[in-house]
C-alpha cells in the first residue's frame, strides 16, 4: 500500500486480476467500497419499492454495474460534470446527491430531485454537477461535449464525463460527438458501459465489431481503452488518467468498461433472453463481493467493512422513509418552468 506504480490498465480484457496496484490510499479504497454499496442498496430498494407499487413509471437499474459509477465518482473533481442515461441512478448518487431525492423522484414525490417532473429517467442535480439524465439513446454525447467546450472556454479545467451503453455506439449522435470532441480536443470522457445487451437484444448481433466502443476509437484518432468494468480500482485508475489528460488539454478519451447488469433492462423485463450460464458467470464476478475480498486480503478489517455496509443500509432506510413521507407534488407545478420566467405561457 505504498509506492505509486505506473499501471497501464489499457486494453485489458476482463478477468480475475489480483494485486493490480498498490498505489490507492486506504481511505480511497474504503470510499470505492462504500460507494458501490450505496448504489447496490439504493437500487435494491428501488426494486422493492417497485414491487410494492410505490415506484411509478419505469426504472432502469444498474445492479452489477456499480463499479463503473463508483470508480468515476470517487475520481472526479466536485465541479466536474456528469451526463448519464435513464440508467443513471448510480452515476447521480456518486456525485453526492441525496438518496431521498433519487428515491423520491422514482416514487413521484415532492422531495424528488425534480419534484417528479423528470422521473426516473431524468435524474438531475446541477448543484452536484449532475447535468441530467437523457432517455434518448446517444443524445447526451454531443451535449456533454458542449459542456466540455464551455468549461475550456471559461478556463475552469472542469471535465465532462458521459456514461452510456454499448447500444449507444451504433447511433449517429455517438459518431458526431466523438469526431467533434476529438477535433476540438475537448475535455470530455466518454464511458461506454458494455453490459452485452441493449434492451433485450445482444449487442454482438447488431454490431460490426467485437468491442463496440474500443474498436471504434481509432476512427476518431483515439487510443482504444478496454477495461474490466467490474473492477472498481481499474475503473478508478483509468478515470484518473482520462480526467488528468482532459484537464491537461489533451482532449477526449473513449473508455469501454466491460460489465453486466444483474437484472432486466427495466422494471418490466425478466431478462429471459440471457443464457443461464452467462448470467451465472457474471454473477460470480459481482464487483462488490470480489472487492470486499480484496480489501480483506489487503488487510482491512472485517468490522470496518461491516460498518460501512451497515451505514449504507441505514442511509438507504432513512431515505426510503423520507421519500415515503413526502407528499406527491402539487399539481400546479405541472405548468411551471417551461420558461426561465417560471411559467409556461405561449401567448400574451
Amino acid at each position: 500500500m505504498t509506492n505509486p506504480q505506473a499501471s497501464k490498465p489499457k486494453a485489458e480484457a476482463p478477468g480475475p486480476k489480483e494485486d493490480i496496484a498498490e498505489a490507492i490510499a486506504p481511505a480511497t479504497r474504503l470510499k470505492l467500497f462504500r460507494s458501490q454499496l450505496e448504489i447496490r442498496y439504493l437500487e435494491k430498494r428501488a426494486y422493492d419499492l417497485f414491487l410494492q407499487n410505490l415506484v411509478k413509471g419505469t426504472s432502469h437499474l444498474a445492479l452489477g454495474q456499480e463499479a463503473v459509477a463508483a470508480g468515476f465518482g470517487v475520481a472526479m473533481r466536485s465541479d466536474d460534470y456528469t451526463f448519464c442515461t435513464y440508467r443513471g441512478h448510480a452515476h447521480t448518487l456518486v456525485r453526492g446527491v441525496s438518496m431521498a431525492g433519487i428515491l423520491g423522484e422514482l416514487m413521484g414525490r415532492d422531495c424528488g430531485l425534480t419534484r417528479g417532473k423528470g422521473g426516473s429517467m431524468h435524474l438531475t442535480s446541477v448543484e452536484h454537477g449532475v447535468m441530467g439524465s437523457y432517455a434518448i439513446v446517444g443524445a447526451h454525447l454531443p451535449i456533454a461535449a458542449g459542456a466540455a467546450w464551455s468549461a475550456r472556454y471559461r478556463g475552469t479545467e472542469q471535465v465532462a464525463v458521459c456514461f452510456f451503453g454499448d447500444g449507444a455506439t451504433n447511433i449517429g449522435a455517438f459518431h458526431e460527438a466523438l469526431n467533434l470532441a476529438a477535433v476540438w480536443k475537448l475535455p470530455v470522457v466518454f464511458v461506454c458501459e458494455n453490459n452485452l445487451y441493449m434492451e433485450y437484444t445482444s449487442i454482438e448481433t447488431v454490431t460490426a465489431v467485437a468491442h463496440p466502443a474500443a474498436d471504434r476509437a481509432s476512427a476518431y484518432g483515439l487510443e482504444p481503452v478496454l477495461i474490466d468494468g467490474n473492477d472498481v480500482e481499474a475503473v478508478y485508475r483509468i478515470a484518473l488518467q482520462a480526467l488528468a489528460k482532459a484537464r491537461r488539454g489533451e482532449g477526449p478519451s473513449l473508455i469501454e468498461a466491460q460489465t453486466y447488469r444483474h437484472g432486466g433492462h427495466s422494471r418490466a423485463d425478466p431478462a429471459k433472453y440471457r443464457p443461464r450460464k452467462e448470467v451465472d458467470a457474471w454473477l460470480a464476478r459481482d464487483p462488490i463481493p470480489s472487492y470486499r475480498q480484496r480489501l480483506l486480503a489487503l488487510g482491512f478489517s472485517e468490522s470496518s467493512l461491516a460498518e460501512i455496509e451497515q451505514e449504507a443500509q441505514r442511509a438507504v432506510d432513512q431515505a426510503t422513509e423520507q421519500a415515503k413521507a413526502s407528499p406527491v407534488p402539487p399539481t400546479d407545478i405541472a405548468g411551471r418552468d417551461v420558461w426561465a420566467s417560471g411559467g409556461s405561457e405561449w401567448r400574451n
Binding site: H122, Y273, I333
Partner: protein
Amino acid sequence: MAELTYREAVAAGIAQEMQRDPRVVFLGEDVASAGGVFKTTEGLLQKFGPDRVRDTPISEQAILGVAMGAAMTGLRPIAEIMFSDFLAVCWDMVANQIAKTRYMTNGQCSFPLVIRTANGAGFRFGAQHSQSVESWAMAVPGLKVVAPSTPADVIGLLAAAVRDPDPVLFFEQKSLYATKGEVPDGEHVDELGKAKVRRAGEDVTLVALGAMVARALEAAERLQSENGISATVVDLRTLVPLDTQTILSEVKRTGRLVTVEENPRLCGWGAEVASIVAEELFYDLDAPIVRVTTPHAPLPAADNLEDFVLPSVEKIVDRVRMTLG
C-alpha cells in the same frame, strides 16, 4: 368474432399481411427474438423467419433509410420506431426523404412502407417517452397518417396501410395496448381516410383520435345523463387523408365542434380541423370552436402530474358545457 387486445391486434395485423404478401418484411429494435418491448410483435420471428423479421441496432436513421431503400426497390417494409418520440432522431428520413422522394422524382419511385410507433402518454415515462406527435407527421406533405383507437381498427387500418402504395405513419397509442375489443374473423382490411361516427348526437360534435376517443365517449355519456346534452363523437382514425366529409357533415348537423387532442396545443391536428370548419361551416356554427388539448408544455412523469395535464373526461365535459352556454 374473436376478442383481442390492441397489443395482440398489432401482431395479428402484421401476420395477416406477411402471410399474404412475401414482399412484406418487418424490422426494428428488439422486434424479432424479444417480440417487441411492448410485446406487440410476439411470434412473428417464429412464423416468418429471420429474413423477414429483423432486429436492428439502435440506429433509427438506418432503420427508416433501409425501409425506404427497400420500398423503392420492390419490398413492402414495416419499420418499427419503438417510441414515437424517437421519430425525432430520424425525422430527416421521415420528413425529407420518405415523404418527398416520390414527388421529387416525378412519380418514378414508390414508397409502400409503414412506420409503426408507440405514441402517447399514460405510463409515467416523462417528457421524452410520452409525446403524441401525430401532428408532426400531419404537417409534412407526402405522408399518410393513421391512429387507430380499437383492436379491430389496428388490424384493418394496418392492413390498409401495408397495402397502400404510399408511406404511412401508423401511431399506436400505447395507453390502449391493454384494451380489448372484438375483431372480425378472417382477413380484415379497412380503408384509409374514413372517420367513424362512434356515437351519434344532436347538440355538439366531439372530434377525437386514439386514446381520446374513449374519453370523448365517456364525456358524451356524462353529458347525456347529467345535462341532457347529446353529443356526436367522431373518431378520426386517419389524419391524412382527412375525412373532412364526415367532420363537416357532423358539425353542420350539430352546429358545434369540440376537438379532443392528446397532443400539446400549438399546431395540433385540432387546429387544422378548426381552421377548416371555421372556413367552410362559418354560417352553420352556433358556437365558438373549442379545443381540449394537453397544455403546451412538456409532459411530467409523476403520476398525479401526468393525469392532471392530459385531457380528462371532466375537462372535456366542462368545455362542452361551456360551449353550450
